[in-house]
């Protein structure tokens, strides 16, 4: 009996619960958060675009350099072969 009374009393303890207001600065914080995100997203787009451009440029430069090296090596190997085969003695 006493136990039932206790349980019911606890279960009904929030019956007259009143709504609570958050801090007054909450809206300002939300607004700053939203505007911050908008700014960041624009900056992020530029950073990503710049990074991609640099990456592409580096790739092209590396590819061109590798091709040049390979061409030089082929010429050098050909010249060496000619030197060997055209011996005078």
């Amino acid at each position: 009996m006493e136990k039932e009374h206790f349980i019911n009393e606890v279960l009904n303890s929030t019956a007259s619960l009143r709504q609570v207001r958050p801090g007054d600065d909450l809206y300002t914080r939300i607004e700053q958060n939203i505007q911050g995100r908008l700014k960041v997203s624009a900056a992020t787009i530029w950073w990503v675009a710049a990074s991609v451009a640099i990456l592409v440029a580096l790739n092209i430069a590396a590819f061109a350099s590798a091709e040049k090296t390979s061409e030089n090596q082929t010429t050098a190997a050909f010249a060496a072969t000619l030197d060997n085969s055209n011996q005078l003695y």
Partner: protein, 182 residues
């Protein structure tokens, strides 16, 4: 496409009390509830253009608040586990902050009982806790809860019934401790 901040202010004014109080009942900490309310409204601002009218704005915001609160609890619990593991601390100490929650909206004479009730609510499974909070503290009807939780009305009835049974059981145990102390 984002909408104007003036429209957003109207939505904020209309729903802030609902969002903040639901988050407060879930998280049982005023600072955490403000953090979740902030996340909820940022998401509302960013996703309002995707909002379809197959649910009311209120239901949609309720859903966002519940999801954000549950995510926050999961994140908090994982941090707590790490903290407990790292520092070899007593889990009871880490849980103390939430266990002794004094709801600022509860009448002074009910504070002690409400504290007991909130600590028992915290031990309920996630969906029972949601159904109970929406029914008991938010005052929503079963059909409204069914829409928010996206389950059938009979499931809501069952969840609320099981939540109440579990709470009675847990409070019964608390009563025994309470009597032994006296």
């Amino acid at each position: 496409m984002q909408f104007h901040l003036n429209d957003f202010r109207t939505i904020y004014d209309q729903y802030i009390l609902m969002v903040y109080n639901l988050a407060l009942n879930y998280l049982q900490n005023a600072e955490d509830a403000e953090e979740v309310a902030q996340d909820v409204f940022v998401q509302v601002y960013q996703s309002l253009h995707k909002f379809r009218n197959d649910a009311t704005l209120k239901t949609w915001i309720y859903r966002i608040t519940i999801n954000k609160s549950l995510d926050f609890i999961k994140h908090r619990n994982s941090k707590k586990r790490f903290f407990i593991f790292g520092k070899r601390a007593d889990p009871e100490t880490a849980l103390g902050k939430i266990a002794n929650f004094e709801h600022p909206g509860v009448l002074m004479e009910n504070r002690e009982n409400a504290e007991l009730l909130f600590s028992a609510i915290n031990q309920l499974p996630e969906n029972q806790k949601t159904a109970f909070l929406l029914a008991k503290l938010e005052g929503l009807s079963n059909p409204e809860i069914a829409v928010v939780m996206e389950v059938s009305i009979s499931s809501v009835e069952s969840l609320v019934f099981r939540a109440k049974t579990n709470l009675r059981e847990k409070l019964g145990i608390k009563f025994e401790h309470y009597r032994k102390k006296k």
